[in-house]
Symmetry: C2
Subunit: 342 residues, 2 copies
DNA sequence: AAATTTAATGCAATCGGTTACATTGATCAA
DNA sequence: TTGATCAATGTAACCGATTGCATTAAATTT
């Protein structure tokens, strides 16, 4: 608790009998400072326990070297992959990141945006919350010309930079696969259809049905918030459907596993009675019994691409507003939950 | 991209023909400012799109109103619960939090600590990484009197504030439960025994064996990093043990489920042939088949307690260095994976 | 009416780095 | 020898909000 007084470059300057300017330069390897002086400065800094004051520096430089990352949740392996992709790139470019999560809540997303804005991040990477209604909270960033890049859950109308996968194609692929396995009555569990990712997967689902001359039945699509409670509810609904569906394509792995479990408890066999497919390739997809067919989401790559676009914009090497949407490849991973033919 | 010039309190002052000091006070509801003036200031601020400069403020106040939270991973529901507990308390106290995660890597933990130190957080809440060897990287905080509070994974030697559960008791309870279910050859999957949480659970395991007059067999304890690969490896080892074990008590749910799945694939029935218990009550414990017996970790409460201790220290209401260890209650959750008797 | 208290606002120094623009002394070319 | 060039360092003005200490005017007391 001895509350050592904070050492500043002025203290170092006095101790070394040189000017604060020289100290400042010496600490950051400025070319004009002689090697000998640099060493003296750095040694003294270490000895006296100096730590630079970021605020003073940021205040003067009008730059924070920090970027904000806003996500809807932390607890999916997709999101943590994206984060690690972002971190890899930003760390290399000597930027810090501040992670904010909205717990899928629009209001909290708004609060987080405002917070990051006041923390003066140099740029922002974002995936929208489940129930985000508009992009007004990003206006301040746009006004000040702070670069913005959306990934995964994006707003189709927004004209700026986005990094996504082709959700329609992925939805199409999953559904086609189920059809190939002999399924004809496929339930689709969708998240909020306001979100591009869910709306597009539904489109892909419909397209696959059409292509295979299967009728689209509105009552086979269940839109909910993908929570455990909602999925247990959905499972009940599925049990009551007549004739019974022979496949479930859920918009994420968690939902798929919850429903799969609820049905298994009722004595339904997977995949023989009902085949299952999820989305995201979360850890749980490998740990369920049977293992879950899903779509691999290249999270790390997504994070890397988003971050490196942002970095190159900040370096003036490119303009993010001219960057069109980047679409990353995803891939279907077939596992036991949908394999009815060998 | 119009890069509007940043508005400062000086601009507001000029526009309103008053002093910057009054503007500063008016913006933060200082009692000495008249109601009318306050309103004029706040209206003008809104109109001109003013945003306060945190750096200038922090620099002047020598305080950031930000606390750092360092965790080993983000992808467990235990950790996200702790975070939400912390957020609840800090938000109410008007503090921001910066979350840093080490991906279970000591080096990254060191880097994060240094980063947060330079960001000048007013306090730090931490759970150690898997392979953290010492607490040297916290020295700077201690030197400057920045309050520090550890939770969950703590260093027993550290004399300051800690929030933990009674891991020994929890380990004892789990093991006793398995024994009650008729298990006599119980494998224990431990994480790094350098970490208190794992070492203590092992102690509890041994104590329960002793109490029930079962011999402790070193070869029944497998210490690994709890990764998927290591657990698959462990499952193989278990298969080769003769006579075959009749229970597995793993130090987290993920490990338990991975091993359970690997054994199930070999035709072993759970819980009849081998009973299972995990730890943490992660989501996956409810989604596995059979559902997993585990120990509930009161994450939210842990976060709340850690944060509120920190807040009251920062408010000068108490001294964190005098706070002894806080032990929170955990509880055994019995599910199908260990129920051999009804 | 004079003295005192209270309310509202202003002045100016301060927080600690950064950097454009000197300054100094030394080295080199002519 | 003189002027030019260069390397190394110094000077001082920022960046924007905060706050102790005035100051002024209005309200209240004596």
């Amino acid at each position: 608790m001895q509350q050592t007084k904070e050492i500043t470059i002025y203290d170092l300057a006095k101790a070394l009998n040189i000017s604060p300017a020289t100290v400042s330069r010496g600490l950051k390897d400025h070319p004009a400072i002689s090697h000998a002086t640099k060493k003296r400065i750095q040694d003294m800094a270490r000895e006296m326990g100096y730590r630079s004051n970021n605020f003073a520096s940021n205040l003067r430089r009008q730059k924070t070297n920090t970027i904000g990352v806003m996500v809807h949740e932390l607890n999916s392996s997709f999101i943590t992959s994206v984060l690690s992709g972002i971190e890899k790139v930003t760390t290399a470019a000597d930027y810090d990141i501040i992670i904010a999560h909205s717990s899928e809540d629009y209001k909290k997303e708004v609060a987080n945006a405002s917070n990051l804005f006041h923390k003066r991040v140099d740029g922002l990477i974002t995936s929208l919350a489940y129930n985000t209604e508009n992009l007004d909270h990003f206006e301040p960033f746009i006004q000040k010309g702070i670069p913005l890049i959306f990934f995964d859950r994006v707003e189709p109308q927004y004209p700026g930079a986005k990094v996504v996968i082709d959700n329609m194609k992925a939805g199409y692929d999953v559904t086609s696969h189920l059809i190939q396995q002999g399924c004809k009555r496929i339930v689709h569990i969708a998240g909020s259809l306001k979100r591009n990712v869910y709306a597009d997967r539904l489109k892909g689902y419909r397209k696959a049905l059409e292509k295979n001359k299967l009728a689209f039945d509105e009552s086979m699509v269940i839109e909910n918030d993908l929570s455990e409670v909602a999925c247990v509810e959905a499972a009940k609904k599925i049990l009551q459907m007549k004739p019974r569906p022979d496949a479930v394509f859920a918009c994420n792995d968690f939902a798929a596993v919850v429903i799969m479990q609820a049905l298994t408890e009722q004595g339904i066999r997977v995949p023989q009675d009902i085949a299952f497919a999820g989305f995201n390739n979360d850890t749980i997809a490998r740990l369920s019994i049977p293992k879950l067919t899903t779509v691999n989401y290249p999270g790390i790559q997504m994070g890397e691409i988003a971050a490196s676009h942002l970095m190159s914009h900040l370096n003036g090497e490119s303009n993010i507003m001219q960057t069109s949407t980047v679409i990353i490849k995803s891939e279907l991973i077939i596992r036991d939950s949908s394999l009815r033919k060998k």
